[in-house]
């Protein structure tokens, strides 16, 4: 069923009683060409692109909860491609390009909204770093502007210019960045994959990976029984160590929790995405009026989808320091996303030492914006057994070989990335 304005009108006149299910709820087949573990954003987009770009449709996505129940439904919805390093910038730009055509592509309004992002800087040193990053973006043909203090003030007069501990000196602006409606991203990919024949199997937890004596993966043990496959792809960020261990993989990943927040609905004041350079804080305002914001991880390892009060306070201290007017707004809800913090802060999309096992992990807290490219590149890898050009540096062996993609320069302490 194609969604269109006409369809909406037509359905409205029959009391909205004839809308079709957005996807089937199939029983698993005994065997698939490809099984993707994880029905989150990355898993679903991988399935979608496998079907759409590479013609591989005998695919199952196994999800232990409901579709989109992982981090895709629990994040601050920012999309951007303002990176510094060669390992990252082309990949995230590829992703942003896919975002730009996404709705028409999968016939679902994911409300991709390119309202721009401003990374504020507060010292000369930080300006130099952002200039370096902005020039890297421009080298790759990506839009970037360096705003001075007045430029920032003109765009966001409500920021704290006069009583700040760390004055705002300017900002790196990427106009094409913005936000997307996170749940709709998952649903759009799911619907697109389903309509191309992919089986989306919910409430199906993978409990083991079955391998033959040569080590080859035969399939997965699940709460719905054994399901065989030719290729197995893990897209279980947050839990990659757990699923990886089922196949004996040891990974450069620690799991941490990142809290995010939303305020009560308010008439829109903040039009773009802002990141605070003197601390960890980022904020945007959704199309419903909620202020969506977050800051740093809780710093300790956690698989619990919840954080602690100290981080909440710290986040909001930063927020009020940056935007004094927030003081009388109210925070409505906090949630916690469980994430793979990799040892250099960048993701891994690669084959593994096990022949037909592929992983997509290590997204730290930046996985949402990567959803389209991650799926595309992972599908490319699975289909062709070679990395997509933009993901060629996001390899698993880079740690051993010393080719780190360390955007923050923080070194091998995952909670610092």
């Amino acid at each position: 069923m194609r969604y269109s304005a006409f369809e909406i009108v037509k359905q409205a006149f029959s009391g909205n009683r004839h809308w079709k299910p957005a996807w089937r709820e199939p029983q698993p087949k005994p065997h698939y060409d490809v099984i993707i573990v994880g029905g989150g954003g990355h898993g679903l987009s991988t399935a979608y692109y496998l079907a759409r770009e590479f013609g591989i449709t005998n695919v199952a996505v196994l999800e232990k909860g409901y579709l989109g129940s992982g981090n895709v439904g629990r994040n601050t919805t920012i999309i951007r491609s303002n990176y510094l390093l060669e390992g990252n910038e082309p990949f995230y730009e590829f992703s942003l390009k896919l975002w730009e055509g996404l709705e028409q592509d999968f016939n679902y309004n994911a409300m991709v909204s390119q309202r721009g992002i401003v990374n504020l800087f507060h010292s000369d040193g930080q300006r130099d770093q952002y200039a370096r990053r902005g020039n890297a973006m421009k080298m790759h043909g990506v839009d970037a502007e360096l705003l001075d203090r007045e430029g920032v003030r003109k765009m966001m007069p409500y920021l704290n210019f006069d009583h700040a501990r760390f004055p705002i000196l300017g900002g790196l602006y990427q106009k094409r960045a913005g936000t997307a409606r996170h749940d709709a991203v998952a649903w759009g990919y799911a619907r697109g994959a389903d309509s191309r024949g992919v089986d989306l199997i919910q409430q199906c937890e993978v409990t083991g990976i079955r391998r033959d004596e040569t080590g080859r993966v035969l399939g997965v043990e699940t709460s719905k029984g054994f399901i065989g496959c030719n290729k197995l792809a893990l897209a279980t960020a947050g839990h990659t160590s757990v699923t990886g261990k089922m196949a004996g993989l040891d990974l450069p990943i620690e799991t941490h929790v990142l809290q995010a927040f939303v305020s009560e609905g308010l008439k829109p004041v903040i039009h773009n995405v802002i990141t605070y350079g003197a601390g960890h804080f980022y904020i945007s305002q959704s199309d419903k009026g909620g202020l969506v914001f977050g800051a740093d991880i809780d710093y300790y390892s956690s698989y619990a989808q919840r954080g602690n009060l100290a981080t909440v306070e710290h986040t909001i201290e930063e927020g009020v320091s940056l935007i004094p007017g927030l003081s009388r707004a109210r925070v409505l809800r906090a949630w916690g996303g469980v994430m793979d913090m990799s040892m250099d802060g960048s993701p891994i999309i690669d084959r593994t030492p096990i022949d037909n096992l592929y992983i997509n992990c290590g997204w730290c807290y930046g996985g949402f914006k990567a959803t389209p490219a991650s799926g595309f590149c992972f599908a490319h890898l699975i289909a062709r057994d070679e990395p997509h050009y933009t993901a060629r540096l996001l390899r698993l062996d880079r740690f051993q070989r010393g080719f780190l993609v360390d955007e923050g320069g923080k070194g091998p302490q995952p909670n610092l990335h």
């Binding site: 020039n135 890297a136 501990r165 003081s327």
Partner: protein
């Protein structure tokens, strides 16, 4: 006028009238009112508009679950959007305004959405607004954003104060209703440290709204009696106006206290709100139960509210919610209300009980309709009548208020915030609190449904168990007799079949039963997906009123038990918390502590312009009269240092005193270069790596005596390096005899640099400073003239003859003044970090601009500092990985523009001449740049692919971000005195 104030009754102070405004109109209320009760007392039923359809809405509850009566209170920088009128304490001068309407509350253009509702079904926006693509951002989204939100955020800074505090107790009791009060009493009498909190401005909870008689007293008086006793116990703290919003690990509860939200003019000596972190050994959740609305056509008409709310307005505030009140119930609550209303002389036009039979007895004067249901309501901006249906027979009943009761849901929110899910009880037809261990239990109606007497008993008993568990001798608490309460038991009725018109499940977000049906048809069937697709439960009340009904209705559609549907995830915050309270004082200029150098006053007196450097303020440059730009000052400072002498504050560098027989070995392992043989009285430059082989930090370390060193770090890394050393000493090599402590704050440290540095310093220092007596890299204690012991180091960052002098911090200013005076004739100047930066760039010294967490020692030309012959040092073993030694790594070089006045800026990238800009063609970047007054040219340090092989090459300094391209020559990174002659004079 429909609702009105009764002539008598209630807990309001009839002798104290308060004046307030709503949408500009002046009203009178009474002390003890909420804004909601005062509006009702004035007959104001219409208080807000819903989010999506802009339907007129009235007050539904008398508490914190209110979805409709959201108003903005206050004006200007003190205006507070989305405030629930039902919990806003009335004060004289309160000014409230309705929200989400234009041009006025009564005539709201947005209400046209209601007519379009067939097109605006759940999730409609996911299916449309996609064509043409460009229209989304230009047309559709701006329209959607115009409609977004409820209240308006004022962007001015908040003029009020906020605080945060910690509290500790044996037992935290949340809720001061019957169970909470008795729990506090039982534990308080036993001697436990008890904190009793309640979100209301008057303690007593539901007792304040109850018409029952407890121990011979009116329920509210009984509460008063217990509170009076609690107030005499020094181990009990009573906290009204305090909402526990979150339960965190280790029994830490977050709570927010409204300290001055009920006054027109807050005093600055107190905060308006205070955030509490309450650490409790045990806790009792006695938060009561929330009454569910019934779901039927037109259940959102102003005038429709919960029965419990109607009872509260009647008994607590002396307000009748209507002149003719109809009641629609599926349990005893409706009967209790009918009795209270008739006792107060308010007409009850009909009591419609969905159950065919029950033991409840309606007052004689009230017409009871058993087995009936309300299928729709009439009225435009206020309720005029209801349509009651009994066995297919419809009857229109005129009324101006409808009280509904769909049963009760225990308020278990807090106990579910750490992952446990509430448990469906078939018997209670409610989700009950999960078992979260013995330290945190629910009591009273929060623990299930029970009569008042049982709640009193439950609170006392559970507190007794917990107090005994903590070792207190707790005795059984006597529970008074209760008369005149009602049985709140009910039978399930999730949705009235045959309802006409929209039947709302989530009032604020306008989610209807039809929306739930659509979500199921479209396969958004998991309850979390249903929520996300319909937005039910996502409003400011977070589904407090609607979620259980949603679950019941979806269960009905699917033909399963609500247990199978389950709840969505409970997360903080129980009720929304102001950013202000969460931020406390840590905002604006106070967002981080300020660190002041001991030479701050000296620098200020010398005219310094300060700059933030981490937590510090450092002197950036020292402008003199006539200097128009910062560059003029910096150029002069640099020239003065190169020609004569300057004094720079370097107190902010980290300083760590290291002691022990193992100190030398320790240093040898934490630095990449050799440290075992550093002689006493000598300083050495050291390079510290991370374990992955990347440079971490640099600094000098001096051996002051055989087993005493002082190590310095950069300002930025002082804290991290200290922790890093502690890790190495404690977790890696605990056997080494090494102890250390930071002495960063003890010393005022100043660098005296320049060819005249010795002459000047000698005038202040007793010891012989000749090159022979105190050569380069000397480091030892000296005596200043006047008898002050100091530390002197002959080290140089500027490349000139230079010393660093450290004196006890309190003497810093005096000593700096003395040196400035001693060097007056030589023209000594104060110089700041900007000049220091120029001096070090000219000399090719690195900072964290170059050491950006990705560079190796070799990258920055310090490969010789990798003492690979040492068996072990941090970073040695991974430093030889292929990627870290590859030939095309970025290496530090100098850059000189071909045209001297062409400016190079840090952050520019490098391209081969005529190369097209692309990431593949990217040759590196400029890490540091400045104008060199010594060379009369811009110069830069840059990281360039295979840089050291490319001296002499012309390269494009590409700065498209700032619109510049400069041709520069690659050169060695040391621009001044490459042979280090100046250091040894």
């Amino acid at each position: 006028m429909v609702s009105y104030r009764l002539a008598a009754g209630g807990l309001v102070n009839r002798g104290n009238a308060l004046s307030f405004t709503f949408d500009g109109k002046i009203y009178r209320g009474l002390q003890g009112d909420t804004l909601a009760s005062a509006l009702l007392a004035n007959g104001e039923l219409l208080v807000g508009r819903s989010f999506k359809y802009h339907r007129p809405r009235g007050i539904v509850t008398a508490g914190s679950a209110e979805p409709n009566a959201l108003v903005t209170i206050g004006a200007g920088a003190r205006s507070e959007p989305n405030t629930r009128a039902t919990v806003a304490e009335l004060y004289d001068g309160l000014a409230a305004a309705s929200q989400n309407r234009w041009p006025s509350l009564a005539f709201d253009i947005g209400a046209v959405n209601s007519l379009l509702s067939p097109f605006l079904s759940a999730g409609f926006y996911y299916k449309t607004f996609m064509w043409p693509a460009a229209f989304w951002e230009k047309v559709y989204e701006p329209l959607i954003r115009r409609a977004a939100g409820l209240g308006r955020l004022v962007t001015e800074a908040d003029p009020d104060r906020y605080e945060k505090a910690w509290a500790h107790c044996d037992l935290l009791v949340i809720g001061s209703g019957p169970a909470g009060l008795m729990a506090a009493l039982a534990a308080g009498r036993a001697g436990a440290r008890v904190i009793l909190v309640d979100e209301g401005f008057r303690l007593g909870g539901s007792l304040l709204s109850d018409s029952a008689v407890v121990g011979g007293l009116k329920a509210a008086d009984f509460a008063g009696q217990v509170l009076a006793e609690l107030a005499t116990l020094s181990n009990v703290t009573l906290m009204a106006r305090t909402t526990v919003f979150g339960w965190y690990d280790d029994m830490v509860f977050g709570a927010v206290e409204k300290v001055q939200k009920h006054v027109a003019h807050p005093t600055p000596d107190l905060p308006v709100e205070r955030l509490w972190r309450i650490v409790a050994k045990r806790a009792i959740l006695a938060a009561g139960a929330e009454e569910r609305p019934l779901v039927f056509g037109g259940n959102d008409r102003p005038g429709v509210m919960t029965a419990g709310a109607a009872r509260t307005y009647l008994n607590r505030y002396g307000v009748a919610v209507g002149q003719r009140v109809a009641i629609f119930t599926n349990g005893g609550s409706g009967y209790g209300l009918a009795r209270d209303l008739t006792d107060s002389g308010v007409e009850v036009t009909a009591l419609i009980d969905a159950r065919r039979e029950s033991a409840d007895i309606a007052p004689e004067s009230v017409r009871l309709i058993r087995g009936g249901a309300v299928t729709s309501t009439r009225g435009t901006r206020a309720l005029k009548s209801i349509i009651a249906d009994r066995s297919g027979f419809e009857e229109e009943i005129a009324c101006d208020a409808l009280a509904m009761s769909g049963g009760w849901s225990p308020v278990v929110h807090l106990m579910c915030q750490r992952g446990a899910r509430p448990v469906w009880s078939e018997e209670r037809q409610a989700f009950l609190a999960p078992d979260v261990g013995a330290a945190f239990v629910a009591a009273g109606s929060a623990a299930g449904l029970d009569r008042l007497s049982a709640c009193l008993r439950d609170g006392a008993d559970k507190a007794t168990v917990l107090a005994r568990d903590l070792g207190f001798a707790a005795y059984e608490t006597e529970i008074p007799d209760v008369a005149g309460d009602y049985d709140p038991a009910f039978a399930p009725l999730w949705y009235v079949p045959g309802s006409k018109g929209k039947a709302f499940v989530d009032f604020q977000n306008d989610v209807t039963v039809a929306d739930l049906g659509l979500s199921q048809r479209e396969a958004y069937s998991h309850v979390e997906m249903t929520k996300r697709y319909t937005t039910g439960g996502m409003a400011t009340d977070q589904g407090k009123l609607g979620n259980v009904n949603t679950i019941g209705i979806v269960a009905g559609m699917r033909g399963v038990s609500p247990a199978e549907i389950g709840t969505t995830t409970f997360r903080p915050f129980y009720t929304p918390v102001s950013f202000g309270a969460m931020a406390g004082t840590a905002r604006g200029e106070h967002s981080r502590p300020v660190r002041r150098s001991p030479l701050h006053g000296w620098a200020a007196r010398n005219g310094a312009v300060f700059v933030e450097a981490g937590l510090w303020y450092r002197s950036s440059w020292f402008p003199r009269e006539g200097e128009k730009t910062w560059r003029e000052a910096v150029d002069r400072e640099v020239r003065t240092v190169r020609a004569s002498a300057g004094l720079c504050d370097v107190s902010t560098l980290g300083k760590i005193e290291i002691f022990g027989l193992g100190a030398a070995e320790f240093l040898n392992r934490v630095y990449s270069n050799a440290f075992l043989k550093l002689p006493v009285g000598k300083a050495r430059y050291g390079l510290m790596l991370r374990e992955d082989g990347i440079v971490y930090d640099d600094g000098t370390t001096s051996r002051l005596s055989e087993n005493h060193y002082v190590l310095t770090t950069t300002t930025a890394y002082a804290t991290d390096v200290m922790a890093h050393l502690e890790f190495a000493a404690q977790a890696l090599w605990p056997h080494l005899d090494v102890r250390f402590a930071s002495s960063s704050d003890q010393w005022a440290q100043m660098s005296i640099a320049g060819p005249k540095a010795r002459i000047i310093l000698q005038r202040v220092v007793e010891d012989d400073l000749s090159d022979a007596a105190f050569p380069f890299l000397s480091a030892r204690e000296v005596m200043l003239k006047g008898g002050l012991a100091a530390r002197l180091f002959r080290i140089s960052f500027s490349g000139e003859l230079a010393y660093e002098l450290a004196v006890p911090a309190g003497y810093g200013e005096a000593v700096a003044d003395a040196i400035m005076e001693a060097g007056y004739e030589e023209g000594i100047c104060a110089y700041g970090v900007e000049a220091l930066n120029v001096l070090r760039i000219e000399k090719g010294h690195v900072t964290h601009n170059e050491l950006d967490g990705r560079t190796t020692a070799d990258d920055v030309g310090l490969g010789r500092m990798m003492a690979m012959q040492k068996p072990d040092f941090i970073g040695k073993h991974l430093s030889t990985r292929f990627g870290l030694t590859a030939a095309d790594r970025l290496q530090m070089v100098g850059l000189k523009p071909v045209e001297a006045d062409a400016e190079i800026k840090a952050g520019a990238h490098l391209l081969k001449e005529n190369a097209k800009p692309s990431m593949v063609n990217d040759q590196g970047f400029v890490s540091s740049a400045c104008y060199s007054p010594t060379l009369n040219s811009f110069i830069a340090l840059a990281m360039l692919k295979s840089g050291r092989e490319r001296y002499g090459e012309k390269i494009v300094v590409w700065d498209a971000l700032r619109g510049s391209e400069v041709l520069a020559e690659v050169c060695p990174p040391v621009f001044v005195d490459p042979d280090n002659k100046n250091l040894h004079v």
